[in-house]
């Protein structure tokens, strides 16, 4: 997914003027970065509760931005966290989410 995909989603689903989307987009990207940082922290702390909560947060944000693949991975993180699946490889899931998110976030800095 690219920033252009997000812009198209915001136009189609929220009917926001393009100029307004351009103004809002940097803060959206910043919020996504912050959420990913929180997820990394939760993973480092090995806190399954926090992992589940941040997964839920990221899922909601991604759904509203039309980032469906990202939302799916975040949902899986949330579900496994809520089920307290201590055997789950959360690192693998978080890495998967980074693979999807990082290009989008890096693109926005260019």
């Amino acid at each position: 997914m690219t920033l252009e995909n997000i812009k198209a989603h915001l136009l189609a689903q929220f009917h926001l003027p393009e100029e307004q989307i351009e103004i809002m987009l940097p803060s959206f990207v910043s919020a996504l970065e912050s959420h990913m940082n929180d997820l990394d922290l939760a993973l480092n702390e090995n806190s399954i509760d926090k992992i589940a909560k941040v997964g839920h947060t990221i899922k909601g944000a991604c759904l509203n931005l039309g980032l469906e693949a990202e939302a799916e991975v975040a949902f899986e993180i949330e579900q496994r966290g809520k089920a307290k699946e201590s055997g789950s490889d959360f690192k693998e899931l978080v890495d998967k989410l980074h693979l999807l998110m990082d290009p989008l976030l890096e693109n926005s800095r260019m």
Binding site: F14, Q20, A31, H56, T57, A61, N64
Partner: protein
Amino acid sequence: MIEKGLKILIVEDEFISRLLLREMLSPFGECHEAANGNEALSVLMDSFESPLDYFDLVCLDIMLPGLNGHELLQYIRKIEEEKGIVGEKIAKVMMVSSLSDTENIVQALVVGKCQAYITKPITRGRVEEQLRYLHLINDN
């Protein structure tokens, strides 16, 4: 499109969702925001001082830091009752959540007595549809 400006409280801890909700709702009136249940309660308590100042609509997320949306809704209804805010004067509460399981929906609608429940992703169409359903805006 609307008969009067609405007074709206958006309770949502996630920045992107909160901002998009504000964009959708600000054409219809004055939007206030809270990022958690305690902040929301503080805003609501101020508005209880004057019946004319009370909220028309509360958009309420469920998973919030501290008090969750269900607990906050219970508080809202309890305080409304204590303050004599009844019938048509109670705030219309619309839950806005990515939780789509029956348990949460039933808890909100039946136990919590919210008036509407929409699941994320939110869209302009769905938000306005609910505002019409709640008779907060007209059809045109």
